[in-house]
Amino acid sequence: MSNDSSQSPPDRRLLIAFAWLWVGAPLAYGLYELVHKATQLFTG
């Protein structure tokens, strides 16, 4: 039996969370600024 199948693959949940946070945080900032500006259509 090969090593691949005898050992369970490493848990990558932390890496997945980090990767999504890396791209999600700036996107959330951009969306916040967008919503802020878009509300001017109804209030401006």
Binding site: R12, A19, W22, V23, G30, E33, L41, G44
Partner: protein, 443 residues
């Protein structure tokens, strides 16, 4: 550089953030306008001159995607993302040098030419890999990445504006802003380079179809098929129709309601533009994911058919109802974004995954064409109508009729799309792929 193969247990959910790290960065291109006024005052440029880096960047995006696609397929996503990182980042660094030394040609060369290559290679870099990782949901996967390109401007626009406010809008302040952009984007994109992997097998997920299932067509053969050119027309018409609104969104809504009891203020018009950006982004992920459920041909029927109806509603009743105008414009912009994001999956359905990234790169010339066509139609006609003494919504009525016509042309082209003739297919899945990869391009 050989493509990085995923180790055992590598999650496919690590690939979309890798793609997003690149697309959110290169999407900055759509926020170039933030730099225009400071550059104009610091270097004494005209509006046309200050638009040059962006225009050259978009031209280079189309050219490098079209001509670099085969290299991207051959060398893999990590190579492509590395090239994109180096070009996009050094484009900013060259621009910083140009602003600091007040040599504008360096900014055009850096941001437009060098950075533009980064845009094109970066745009197509994750497409093929995402489709291979998500053979069960290719529309959703490419939708996430291409949504990032729309999201990039949302991030860069306020971020760049704040930076210029802090550093100042003279040449040294602009130079510092360019420098920070170059370094920050290099760090941000490096996550994509480090994370991206190609799947170990053709079937990365249990129960999903194999990535190499169905007909496989090389990029060289794909451009010889009517299906490629029909899709080229579909994309070009859909993008032209979207740009028709996007290009003049703020003056358009102001003109439409100028003589009504509810005129639109400058800040409200800016809000409308922001809302359109949100619809554009939401369409990329929303409609592209929907295409996995209802099929690619059907979703383009919606984009083009319902899009034409939306344009007709604006032309007929737009000036009598602000909510109707806004709603129709939002739907059109969501279809514009959806059209961009769904096309890689449509290509995969027709030509397989073998060289889908390279085929996508070649198809993006439709975007470059539409980028010229859309603004030209709307601006030219609006100017002629103004000269003829018209105002308000009458400035745009002819443009809207042309947009409806273009969408109908796109609709017909989509109806004509049929499966690719077997003579264009690669004979057998594995052996043929290996044989064809060893052959030179001119063979």
């Amino acid at each position: 550089m050989s493509p990085p193969v995923a180790p055992a247990g590598w999650s496919r959910w690590l690939v979309p953030p890798a793609a997003l790290a690149v697309h959110l960065s290169i999407g900055q291109a759509y926020a170039w306008s933030v730099f225009k006024p400071p550059l104009e005052s610091a270097l004494g440029l005209s509006g046309t001159q200050s638009a040059l880096p962006f225009q050259l960047g978009i031209v280079m995006l189309g050219l490098s995607a079209a001509f670099g696609g085969t290299l991207v397929e051959r060398n893999g996503p990590r190579w492509a993302m590395t090239v994109a990182l180096i070009c996009f980042s050094s484009g900013f660094l060259l621009s910083a040098l140009g602003a600091w030394s007040e040599q504008y040609w360096l900014i055009v060369l850096g941001y437009g030419f060098v950075g533009g290559i980064g845009l094109g290679i970066g745009y197509i870099s994750p497409v093929s890999t995402l489709i291979k990782w998500f053979p069960d949901r290719p529309g959703m996967a490419t939708g996430i990445a291409i949504m990032g390109f729309g999201g990039g401007a949302l991030i860069a626009s306020p971020w760049s504006a704040q930076m210029l406010e802090s550093f100042g809008t003279d040449s040294s302040g602009i130079a510092l802003a360019f420098l920070v952009h170059g370094l920050a984007y290099a760090v941000f994109m490096s996550l994509g380079v480090l994370l991206v992997r190609v799947p170990r097998t053709e079937k990365p997920v249990e129960g999903a179809p194999s990535a190499l299932q169905g007909p496989q067509v090389s990029a060289r053969n794909a451009v010889r098929t009517p299906q490629f050119w029909l899709l080229w027309i579909v994309l070009c018409m859909n993008v032209t129709a979207g740009i028709g609104i996007l290009e003049k969104a703020a003056p358009m809504i102001t003109d439409f309601f100028a003589d009504t009891s509810t005129p639109v203020s400058v800040s409200a018009a800016a809000g409308f533009v922001a809302l359109l950006s949100a619809a554009n982004m939401a369409g990329r992920i929303g409609w592209s994911s929907t295409s996995d459920l209802i099929g690619r041909k059907n979703i383009y029927r919606v984009y083009l058919g319902v899009g034409a109806v939306m344009y007709a509603l604006i032309a007929l009743f737009g000036d009598s109802s602000k909510p109707l105008f806004v709603l129709c414009a939002l739907v059109i912009l969501s279809f514009y974004g959806g059209g961009f994001a769904t096309v890689p999956a449509y290509l995969k359905d027709l030509f397989g995954t073998y060289e889908v990234g390279a085929i996508h790169g070649r198809l993006l010339t439709a975007w470059s064409t539409a980028g010229v066509l859309g603004p030209l139609i709307v601006n030219w006609i609006a100017d002629r109508q103004e000269e003829a003494g018209k105002d308000g919504s009458a400035l745009y009525s002819v443009s809207f009729l042309i947009m409806i016509g273009l969408l109908v042309v796109g609709f017909v082209a989509n109806e004509l799309v049929r499966p690719v003739n077997a003579r264009h297919h690669i004979p057998a899945p594995r052996e043929a792929v290996d044989v064809e990869r060893q052959q030179p391009e001119s063979a």
